[in-house]
């Protein structure tokens, strides 16, 4: 079932009672989620991604715009008639019911012709439990289970009624780091097995990139960019998106373009064919640095962090406009010599992005210009 959002907007009255301003949580959303895909709604907290999810679930009514499931306009439908499965950040498992009763709960709500026989219900519950591999925990209560197990139960409860769309709100944020890795693989697998169109909300870009077919990056209620994770990473549309994706984050320099060359400080670090003269932000991905004794980019070495196969070279630079130090990820065998004060790099052109100094929009040059 594909999901289409058309001009979807949600305004909330301001929390500050004295002012009449409205908060625009979701501003003019337009996109289509293809059938059977896993979509990650990604953005910093407060960007409206949970609101967007709840507009799809029907728990919130939009101020304007429409929501389609397939060809059906479901905008005015209450959540119970939409056929969505929803997994909450808090899991929202009923603490007084056992795992079996929790999973059974949605099925017992079905009325009329949709009502299943007892055996059919039992079968569906068992299938759902098998899908998330909790068959041996059926008589436990949620309080007696680990966070990861509760998460699985919550997913089972959401898929047991065979929803047309599965929605997950920050499904991993209450898990510890190891479980998070494991559970996100699990979500990917369950989604593939069931083929249910799935939307999940997260503020963790790594999580979104690793399992989504497509990511939607949001900021302040506005969609910034939509695309396959790798495409968005390789070709960000503005400074925000470039900064939001990637660990360690992209390095940002206060730079300028002169005669189709990018200058960071006094050094011309890269050719920028087709770019106009003026002040720009230059973003360089950490993996865009190549150690080069004659390279054009010089920085003060402050440390080397060992990451195993690679090392992270930590440097200072006067034009650094990012939040932290400049970081370059390079292969361990190329690590700078002991006692070195400075390091020199040349830059990979496809790992360097230019952004307008005022609008922070992408300035395309060279091979990127085609798009």
């Amino acid at each position: 079932m594909k999901v289409v959002l058309q001009h979807l907007t949600k305004k909330f009255p301001s929390r500050n009672k004295k002012s009449n301003d409205e908060v625009i949580a979701v501003n003019d959303f337009n996109f289509e989620i293809p059938d059977g895909k896993l979509i990650g709604l990604l953005g910093p907290s407060g960007c409206g991604k949970s609101t967007a999810l709840n507009l799809i679930s029907g728990l919130i009514q939009p101020t304007s715009g429409r929501v389609f499931f397939g060809d059906d306009d479901v905008t005015s439908l209450p959540p119970e008639n939409r056929g969505v499965g929803l997994v909450f950040q808090s899991y929202a498992l009923y603490p007084h019911l056992t795992v079996r009763e929790n999973i059974l709960f949605p099925l017992q709500n079905l009325k009329g012709s949709a009502r299943l026989s007892k055996e059919e219900m039992e079968k569906r519950v068992t299938e759902a439990a098998k899908l998330v591999q909790i068959e041996n925990l059926m008589e436990r209560k949620p309080g007696e289970m680990s966070g990861g197990q509760q998460q699985r139960v919550a997913i089972a409860r959401a898929v047991v009624k065979m929803p047309r769309v599965l929605l997950l709100d920050e499904p991993l944020s209450n898990l510890d780091a190891r479980l998070r890795l494991q559970t996100r693989e699990e979500i990917r697998r369950i989604q593939r097995d069931t083929g249910i169109t799935t939307v999940f909300v997260t503020h963790d870009q790594e999580e979104a990139m690793s399992i989504s077919d497509m990511i939607v990056v949001m900021k302040d209620g506005v969609v910034q960019q939509i695309g396959k994770p790798q495409d968005v990473y390789d070709d960000p549309i503005n400074l925000f998106v470039s900064k939001f994706l990637g660990t360690p984050p992209i390095n940002v320099f206060d730079a300028r373009v002169q005669n189709e060359k990018i200058y960071i400080g006094d050094e011309a670090v890269l050719d920028a064919p087709g770019a106009r003269d003026g002040a720009v932000w230059a973003g360089v991905r950490p993996e865009g640095f190549v150690p080069d004794e004659n390279g054009p980019f010089t920085c003060r070495l402050t440390g080397v962090e060992v990451m195993g196969r690679d090392v992270s070279v930590v440097c200072g630079h006067d034009k650094n406009a990012g939040a932290g130090a400049v970081r370059a990820i390079i292969s361990a065998e190329n690590r700078p010599a002991e006692g070195a004060k400075t390091v020199r790099f040349s830059l990979k052109s496809y790992k360097v992005f230019l952004f307008d100094h005022d609008t922070e929009e992408r300035i395309r040059f060279g091979e990127f210009e085609v798009k």
């Binding site: 060809d71 059906d72 306009d73 479901v74 905008t75 005015s76 439908l77 209450p78 008639n81």
Partner: protein, 289 residues
Amino acid sequence: MTNDFDRIGRASRARKAAVRAVTYALLTFWALMVLFPYYWMLLTSVKSYSAYNGEYVPTFFTLAPTFQNYVSAFSEVPLARYFLNSLIFTIVTTGLMMAVIIPAAFAFARLEFRGKNLVFSLFLALMMIPNELVIITNYQTITGWGLRNSFPGLILPSVTSVFYIYLLRENFAQIPDELYSAAKVDGTSDFKYLTRVMMPICKPTIITIVILKVIECWNSYVWPRLVTDDPAYFLVSNGIQEIRENGFGRENIPAMMAAVVVISVPLIALFLAFRNKVMSGVSRGGIKG
């Protein structure tokens, strides 16, 4: 298909609106049930004696309000006396209680001494002892000490509340130990630490306890009834009962209502001023009765 969906959506919204209407109707009904006695008491208090007694069928409003009843309430029965007694009783009892429970809560929360845990368990056990069980002996004790019809007799047995010691101790105990260590390093005495650090931090709880105790004192009836039979020492509750049975002559109901309004106003005003404090205090463990 789309029309169908619109219909379902409309039906669901209509259902919600209907539920909402019924909810408001129910809530308003109970609100009226609660407010009506207050309205009636105000209304009756401004009806003149003759007008009230002339109504065989009670009327729901009056066109000729009078304040004569309030004058009568203060001149024909010693309402001012009852009022003053209650005021003295409430202030002294509450003040004494705070002076007793704050050091006790401090000792339990902060000080280390032998036997503390045992004594604290005994205190907790005392929380379950209802007043009705101990009031008999207290009556005998106060009578034996010759304190009937006196303020000490009224006040002394009403001073302590194990529950408030417990409530305050819990609050004191939440203050991080680091603060105490820091104060010790700076050479602050325990008493100074209590008054300068702990009490200001726990001010909300202290205010809550004061308000709850004031309500309790203002409305107390049973104990004052037992130890006073001289109207000079009646509190408002006993005063109302006295007015009902012997004041004004039994039929002057408007004047009685004026007296009732006068004694009800202070607490209602206190409540409206400290609405949130009173309600959160009560939900944290105030039990009426």
